[in-house]
C-alpha cells in the first residue's frame, strides 16, 4: 500500500516587525512556499484544508480555507479541474487530524494531492493577555509516496474529555468586533504529559515499531518545561526529542510543523529513517503519528 507523504512543507515564522500579518497572510505565505517547493502544479491540488483556530476578524463563514484557496489561485473558478476547501478545527492537533483526513482521501483515489494549512492570529485591538500565540503559518502538500513504505504510518488520537474545561478559547460577542477570551489552567501540561506515554505506545504498536527504531521525535513546542519533562513521560531519550524552546514559542496549530521544518533545516533525513510527531491540544487531546522517510 502506498502511504501519504509530505511532498513539500512551507512555513511562515512569527514576525515581530509585521504585526499586521494576520492568519490569511501567514497561511498564504506558507502555502506559497509549499507550492513553490512542490513538484505538483497548483492545479493538481484537489483539497485545501485549513486547521488554524484563530482567524482574521473572527470570520466564521465562509471557511478560511476558501480565502486561502483564492489567494493561492488554486482552481478558483468553476471549471474542469476543481478543488474543495474547508476548515477542520481541533486545536493544536488540527494539522495531524487534517493530514489523516487527506491521507484517507488520497488512498481512496478521491484526490491526487491535498494542501493542509494552518495559521494563527489574534485580531483584537486589546488582546486577552492570556493569549500568548504569535501569528504564524504552516502548510503541507500531501500526496501518495512513490516509494513503498515511506510516508505517514499510524495515527493515534487520545481524548480525555473529562479535562475539556482545562483549556477553552472563545470569541466573546458581548462586545463589538468580538474578543478572544482564553482560559488555560496550569495543570494542562501535566495532563498532556500523563497522556503522552500511552499515545506513543499506541501509535508504535499500531505500526509494529519499538522506541529504539524512532530516529527523532518532533513534539509541539508547548513550553521549555513541557519539553524538559517529555523524555521521562514519553520514554524517548532527550537527544531524540526536537527541543526548540529557546527559538520558537508555542504557536498552537502550527507548532508541530514549524518545529519539523526548523529541525530538518539544511539536512535531508536518510531513506528509512523514522520520526514520531506528537501534538497536544484542547479536548484534552494528545495525538501522535509515525513517519518514514
Amino acid at each position: 500500500m502506498r502511504h501519504c507523504r509530505i511532498e513539500s512543507l512551507g512555513i511562515s515564522l512569527p514576525r515581530r516587525h509585521f504585526p499586521r500579518w494576520g492568519s490569511i497572510r501567514h497561511a498564504v505565505e506558507a502555502g506559497r512556499q509549499c507550492l513553490k517547493a512542490s513538484q505538483h502544479r497548483k492545479e493538481a491540488v484537489g483539497l485545501v484544508v485549513n486547521a488554524g483556530v484563530h482567524r482574521d476578524r473572527h470570520i466564521c463563514e465562509p471557511a478560511m480555507a476558501v480565502f486561502i484557496q483564492h489567494r493561492l489561485g488554486i482552481n478558483i473558478e468553476f471549471q474542469k479541474r476543481s478543488t474543495l476547501a474547508f476548515d477542520l478545527l481541533n486545536g493544536g492537533c488540527g494539522m495531524l487530524d487534517a493530514a489523516q483526513v487527506v491521507s484517507s482521501l488520497l488512498q481512496g483515489g478521491e484526490i491526487a494531492a491535498g494542501l493542509v494549512v494552518a495559521s494563527e492570529t489574534n485580531p483584537d485591538r486589546h488582546p486577552d493577555p492570556r493569549f500568548a500565540y504569535p501569528a504564524s503559518g504552516a502548510a503541507l502538500l500531501l500526496d501518495l509516496s512513490p516509494w513503498r513504505g515511506s510516508g505517514f504510518g499510524a495515527f493515534s488520537f487520545h481524548t480525555r474529555d473529562d479535562y475539556a474545561d482545562l483549556y477553552t478559547s472563545l470569541v466573546s460577542l458581548a462586545e463589538k468586533r468580538g474578543r478572544i477570551v482564553m482560559q488555560r489552567q496550569a495543570e494542562l501540561e501535566d495532563i498532556y504529559l500523563s497522556m503522552a506515554g500511552a499515545v506513543v505506545e499506541d501509535v508504535l504498536t499500531r505500526d509494529g515499531l519499538r522506541r529504539q527504531e524512532i530516529d527523532f521525535v518532533v513534539p509541539a513546542q508547548i513550553s521549555a518545561g513541557f519539553l524538559a519533562r517529555l523524555p521521562a513521560a514519553s520514554g524517548f531519550p532527550g537527544n531524540k526529542i526536537v527541543n526548540l524552546a529557546e527559538r520558537l514559542p508555542d504557536t498552537l496549530s502550527t507548532s508541530l510543523f514549524l518545529a519539523w521544518k526548523l529541525a530538518l533545516a539544511g539536512r535531508r533525513p536518510l531513506p528509512g529513517q523514522k520520526a514520531l510527531l506528537l501534538a497536544c491540544g484542547s479536548g484534552v487531546t494528545v495525538a501522535a503519528a509515525t513517519y518514514r522517510f
Binding site: V53, A65, L88, N90, H158, T168, G178
Partner: protein
C-alpha cells in the same frame, strides 16, 4: 481513539445513512413577529418574497444542545451504541455553548462526545458554511472507505437566531446586506454513517467544489456596531452565480451515478427560501432542456434556512409524510458561501420505514 483496520481487509463500497436524528426546538417565531421586532422594518413583504412563514428558535438552549439532542435521536434508532462510534464530526457553523460566546476550543465535537458517552470516538469539527454536513459526510466517507473507521456520526446544531436578532437591531434600510439573516431558523441534525452492506444503497456519488473566486458574496463575523454576530449576504449575486454553475454539476452527478432525471424521486435542495428553490429548479430545467417533475422537497416555509441541517430536516419531513420510501432515489443539492456547490445522489434502503416506525404515534 479509533482502531484502524487493515485497509486491504475492507473493499471500497457505498456509505449509507444507518440512522437519522433531527431536533427541532418547540418555540415558533413567525416572519411577522421577527419583522415587527426590527428597529427599522424593511418595506418588502419578506414573507411573500421568501415564502418563509415561520421558523423554530432555540430558547434557553444553545447550538451545542441542539446537536446533542439530534445525536441522541440518531443513536436511539441506530444499531450502534455510542461507545461503538469511531469518529464524531461536528459541522455546526454556530458554535454557541452560552449566550454571546462563540467557542473555538475545545471542538464542539468534544462536548457532543461527552454528552452522548461516545468514549472511544475520535473527534474534530469541520466547518464549511452551509455545506458543512455534506463536507462531514465526504470526510467520514473517506475515513470509512480507507478503513480508518467502521462507523461515525456527522452532527450539526445550528442556532441562527442571534444572527437574526442582530439583523433586527442593525438593519438600516430595505437593501441592507443583513436582510437575508431574517430568513434563518434553528435546528439540529445527526447522521450515523457506516458501510452499506448492499452496494446498491447509500451514497452513490458525492461531489463538492469550491469556486473561491466568489468568496465575497456571503460572510459572517462579529458586528462592528454592537454585540452579536452578523451575516452579510449579497443574495441576488449569490443566487445568480450559483444558478449559473450548479446545473452542470447536477447533470454531472446524475451521469456519474448512472441515473437519468426519470430515475429521481426526490430532489432535496438547500432550504435557502421557497423562492430561491423555485429559481434553482428553473435553472436546472433550462440547463437540461426539460421541465422538472414536482419532486423538489421543501421545508423552508416552516423551518426557514437552518444552514447546515436544512437537507436533513426536509428529509425528516418527507419521510414522515410518506413521500420518501424504501428504495427511492434522491439528489441532495447544496450551495453555500464560498461559493461551495455540492451534490450527492442517494438511494434509500429501509431507513424511511424504520424512521416512520420509530415515530409511529408521535407525529
Amino acid at each position: 481513539m479509533s482502531d484502524a483496520l487493515p485497509a486491504a481487509a475492507i473493499p471500497a463500497g457505498n456509505i449509507r445513512i444507518e440512522s437519522l436524528g433531527v431536533y427541532l426546538p418547540e418555540t415558533i417565531l413567525t416572519m411577522e413577529e421577527l419583522l415587527a421586532s426590527c428597529r427599522r422594518r424593511p418595506r418588502w413583504d419578506l414573507e411573500r418574497i421568501t415564502g418563509i412563514h415561520e421558523r423554530r428558535v432555540a430558547v434557553g438552549e444553545y447550538a451545542v444542545d441542539l446537536g446533542i439532542h439530534a445525536a441522541k435521536q440518531a443513536l436511539a434508532m441506530s444499531r450502534y451504541r455510542a461507545e461503538e462510534l469511531d469518529v464524531i464530526v461536528c459541522t455546526s457553523i454556530s458554535k454557541y455553548n452560552r449566550e454571546n460566546e462563540f467557542h473555538l476550543e475545545p471542538a464542539t465535537a468534544v462536548r457532543i462526545r461527552t454528552a452522548i458517552g461516545a468514549g472511544n470516538a475520535r473527534v474534530f469539527d469541520v466547518v464549511n458554511a452551509c455545506a458543512g454536513m455534506f463536507t462531514g459526510i465526504y470526510v467520514l466517507q473517506g475515513m470509512i472507505r480507507s478503513g480508518m473507521a467502521r462507523c461515525g456520526l456527522v452532527v450539526s446544531g445550528e442556532q441562527n437566531l442571534p444572527l437574526a436578532e442582530t439583523a433586527a437591531r442593525e438593519l438600516r434600510h430595505s437593501f441592507d446586506g443583513q436582510l437575508a439573516a431574517l430568513t434563518l431558523g434553528d435546528g439540529g441534525a445527526a447522521l450515523v454513517l457506516d458501510r452499506s452492506p448492499d452496494p446498491h444503497f447509500g451514497f452513490q456519488h458525492i461531489d463538492l467544489v469550491t469556486g473561491a473566486k466568489h468568496d465575497h458574496y456571503c460572510y459572517s463575523r462579529p458586528s462592528r456596531r454592537g454585540p452579536g454576530g452578523i451575516l452579510v449576504t449579497k443574495a441576488r449575486g449569490l443566487q445568480r452565480k450559483g444558478n449559473e454553475h450548479f446545473p452542470a454539476y447536477f447533470k454531472r452527478a446524475l451521469d456519474a451515478s448512472g441515473w437519468t432525471l426519470d430515475d429521481l424521486q426526490h430532489i432535496v435542495p438547500h432550504q435557502v427560501s421557497v423562492r430561491a428553490i423555485e429559481n434553482g429548479v428553473k435553472a436546472v430545467s433550462r440547463h437540461l432542456g426539460a421541465a422538472l417533475p414536482d419532486i423538489t422537497r421543501c421545508s423552508a416555509d416552516h423551518y426557514g434556512n437552518t444552514s447546515t441541517t436544512s437537507h436533513f430536516l426536509a428529509i425528516h419531513d418527507a419521510i414522515l409524510q410518506r413521500r420518501i420510501r424504501n428504495g427511492h432515489h434522491a439528489m441532495l443539492v447544496s450551495g453555500a458561501s464560498g461559493i461551495v456547490i455540492a451534490h450527492a445522489t442517494y438511494r434509500f434502503d429501509d431507513l424511511p420505514q424504520r424512521y416512520r416506525e420509530r415515530f409511529a404515534g408521535v407525529y
